[in-house]
Subunit: 576 residues, 2 copies
């Protein structure tokens, strides 16, 4: 989840930041907004009472995808309602910092109502959980998550013309027994706060009178399952917290602390460049963090974690004080139920087409961690492409004819560009060369198939990161904003099968790189253009990128304040 | 709990603050301390293994009383262990600010281990609750409050030579049905955080679709029971939060919010000067906060609060969204059990003598909210005083003879000075004047009794405030520090009954005034010398006093940072 540019979505509206500052300076936050409303005496109106002709858009979620969609959406043409159990947007890439108090939880959240305020209308927000999508009747059933003691019904339903599913994912336990009961996760702000309290608990328990050394060691053994960016960053944060702050106030147990990272693969950070992976492992070894690779966790109990060595099949056990489970994502119940309804029940994760439209369901879009883009294989369409390109119908494709369709192909099948890059080809017409590299003037259908036969190997499903979610939100908002225009004047690529053009270009992910902070003021980063950067300067780059990517000036200043506080006073160890 | 000077206790050690800054600036908090320890390789030792000849002092609690005691105690002569379920000290006078996010919870807490670090020894801290005091065997039984899942026994016992009971008090519900189940309290940091979330819940619920206006109003009715300083400050904070911040992001319900303060007496803030009480009521009326006096709450249910009008006996009910119960304090279970053991079972609250020694029990001291000082009536000792003063034994007391004992009387019976002040007498020998105000040269026992007969009316039990607790802690630390010296060379007043002198002067409370913040940047204050100050300038005085009284530079800077943030960005309404 750590990436270089989360919110290209938020870049489009620099005035938003400025407005926030202006409003904020006028004493007490958001007076300016209030004033603009105060004359109109807004009555309490049910949504059902607003009989407008606008299309009704219901958005589920307030994470990266939903928030960037809402920020960019032009609501003059839509009635928008948002449903989420969290009334705030959380800057999730800083969650590992929250676990150890490097950054405070409240510094990385922004009320969603502040973010989605619009000048030419209102987006309605309901703090509730969507329990069921009724795709047939275009309804969602929601339940408020607040205390049952409050007056009024907690259940309500909303009708939609378009539904945007951006509810995110839940943790994937791979059905490992004991994980739900005894492990901590790192997906929500509350998770991070709970981890922080538990770390302190482990230390407080370990120093109590009457414990054996063995018991103290058990309580001070912190295990992280999953060597991806989140797990690694948490291990690094925890190491800093323990050895920069906690050992000073719990000096009696400082030699008993152990941190272990368990990874099923052979290396941690295996989605990163190999140099970064090696650098991280060396850094962890120097720091005394155990990296245990090639192990699969079989089950977890309150004090014990059992693993199987992948190479030998041996069983290994280790006692623990705390386990943080940070391995992959799984679908939420509401999404699974929805998938059953629309015939996607056998799939692992909700599938959309390249326009983020849920497959097998009208008017529903899904983005972010809850869905995956099911990319079209060029192989399946190759005959139609050939037919469409072969204007004179002579069964041969000339270089000229190919050039006419090439732009549409590249837009429609993003894997083509990746393939060319992987082959170090700079021009698509290089595909016209024969196996010896000689130019050909025209090719037939079989030669065409052969030339494109390996393109589909470059198809990769997009990672479940903030970067992807934010770009999808921005993309979808643009589609909604251009709806009318593109209906009459489509901007998308040619439809090779049915003729005509797609209304919009398909979603196109631009990977801007990713960071891996490794503790001790060191970080590693993959930067655009396949650059790799490691060390202290990268940590400072991390600070500046993360500060600049904050969603509001308030959180930006709070986060920078937290970092400064940590430098001066260290991290707080009060158990609250 | 709002007072002018909480920690005269912390004034004695200005170097402590400086040390903290020095340590903190040396990167990562408390390195300096760690270095001083690093060579000695402290082993894990059980307290029982330390066979020192020092007296063992066990302190229960980490509130104002315990913390100021520990700060000032010279631990070169004592082995000190501290037991508390909270591993931090909380600056409780700012709790009302935490309820609405004016100040963050973490800004008002400081790890107790940071506070009690000493340069010439170690104070041991155990995060645990004391479940039972065994006064006969000089033991306390404790239980760790951390997760049962961690390794090792949670129970342990400690032996003491001296026990300092400073566990504070719990809320007093006056056995009103439903209070424990449905009301919020404002005693702990967690209480304040819970109130903050509940206020947001009430707003989120009130804006949901499908509620009637009546239901919305119910959810947005915030009731405060108790018009003392805490209740009033919370009402003011809540009013500011709602009308400065929340109405801007929940504009649809802004006209439905109501705040009510219920007070059984005739006026709110009735322990304050009458001018302050009136000022507060006028301010609240202008703000639209309902002040309902002369009502007693009979019971509370999830959505309804039932009261009896004290004047008419009529029953009145009001629906509510949230109730904050802020009325007086009661004894904790461990203290009640201890009182049973030592024959104080029939009393309402644990009694100590003027030296803070628990009555009926050797070597146990009690201070802060959990105990009350049972002051000696001068009437009971009057014959002995007369006998001791009448040196020549002629049954008459001359002015000269009286002057000889007067200092001891004033020290031993603090009510004498209060009595003189109330009668506008400047010299104690004015008591020698007869009823017409004429000087007398000598008086007999009956005249002496008459002259002092009304002195005891000035006896007042001390309020349950931070100011009292902190002064008691400092006082007791001084007694412990001077123990050996005062054994041989007592500094206390004459013992009129048994002869000789008391080892120490009795505890003497110096009231330094108190504040009542009233919202909208206005406050009222009673200042030393019976001054009363009200308005905006008083709020700024409040800011500066509260900033200066913070226990560490870290919390001072954080609190001031929070205040500035609130001025610029308003309060955060994220539900975390």
């Amino acid at each position: 989840m750590r990436v270089l540019s989360y919110l290209s979505a938020f870049h489009g509206h620099p005035y938003a930041s400025k407005l926030l500052v202006l409003c904020s300076l006028s004493s007490g936050g958001l007076i300016a907004y209030a004033d603009s409303q105060s004359n109109s005496k807004i009555p309490i109106v049910e949504h059902d009472d607003c009989k407008s002709q606008k299309k009704r858009v219901v958005v589920l979620g307030t994470g990266w995808a939903a928030t960037s969609f809402l920020k960019d959406l032009d609501i003059s043409s839509y009635d928008v309602q948002v449903v989420s159990p969290r009334n705030y947007f959380a800057f999730t890439p800083l969650l590992p910092s929250v676990t150890c108090g490097t950054v405070e939880a409240r510094s990385i959240v922004e009320p969603v109502r502040n973010i989605i305020k619009k000048r030419n209308g209102e987006i309605l927000f309901w703090e509730a959980e969507c329990l069921k999508v009724d795709a047939a009747n275009k309804k969602v059933f929601c339940k408020s998550t607040v205390d049952e003691n409050l007056a009024g019904n907690n259940d309500f339903e909303l009708e939609y013309d378009f539904l945007i599913v951006a509810v995110g994912a839940e943790v994937n336990t791979f059905n490992t027994p004991g994980v739900l009961e005894y492990c901590h996760f790192l997906k929500e702000v509350e998770d991070a706060q709970r981890i922080r309290r538990t770390v302190i608990d482990c230390f407080e328990k370990a120093v109590l009178p009457g414990l054996t050394d063995e018991e103290r060691k058990t309580n001070l053994h912190f295990v992280i399952v999953g060597g991806g960016p989140t797990g690694v960053e948490f291990a690094a944060e925890l190491h800093d917290f323990v050895f920069e702050d906690l050992v000073n106030i719990y000096p009696r147990v400082k030699d008993l602390v152990k941190i272990s990272v368990i990874q099923s693969g052979d290396h941690i950070l295996n989605t990163f460049d190999e140099r970064i992976s090696t650098f991280a492992e060396q850094k962890f070894t120097r720091d005394g963090i155990d990296v245990l690779t090639g192990r699969r966790v079989v089950n977890v109990s309150d004090r014990m974690l059992n693993m199987k060595m992948k190479a030998t099949g041996d069983d290994v056990s280790m006692p623990h004080g705390m386990v943080v489970w940070s391995t992959g994502v799984g679908s939420r119940a509401v999404v699974r139920d929805f998938m059953e309804q629309i015939g996607q029940g056998s799939r692992r994760v909700l599938a959309t087409d390249e326009w983020l439209r849920v497959k097998g369901c009208e008017s529903v879009y899904a983005l972010g961690d809850c869905a995956t883009v099911d990319q079209k294989k060029i192989r399946e369409d190759i005959s139609e492409i050939f037919k469409a390109a072969d204007k004179d119908g002579n069964g041969k494709l000339t270089r000229e004819e190919f050039r006419d369709v090439i732009e549409d192909i590249v837009i429609r099948y993003p894997q083509v560009e990746l393939y060319l890059k992987s082959k170090h080809l700079f021009d698509v017409t290089d595909l016209f060369k024969d196996s010896e590299g000689n130019d050909r003037e025209e090719i037939d259908i079989e030669e065409f198939k052969l030339a494109l036969s390996h393109v589909d190997t470059q198809m990769k499903s997009l990672p479940a990161t903030a970067q992807v979610a934010a770009q999808q939100g921005t993309y979808l908002a643009r589609c909604f904003n251009l709806w009318e225009k593109c209906k009459s004047n489509p901007e998308g690529p040619r439809r090779f099968r049915s003729g005509g053009r797609h209304e919009f270009r398909p979603f196109w992910y631009r990977h801007l790189g990713q960071f891996a902070p490794l503790g001790g003021e060191q970080a590693a980063a993959e930067l655009p253009g396949d650059w790799v950067s490691m060390g202290r300067s990268t940590q400072w780059l991390w600070y500046s990128v993360y500060a600049s990517k904050q969603v509001s000036w308030r959180t930006r200043i709070l986060v920078m304040g937290d970092w400064s506080r940590r430098f001066v006073f260290g991290r707080d160890s009060s158990r609250i």
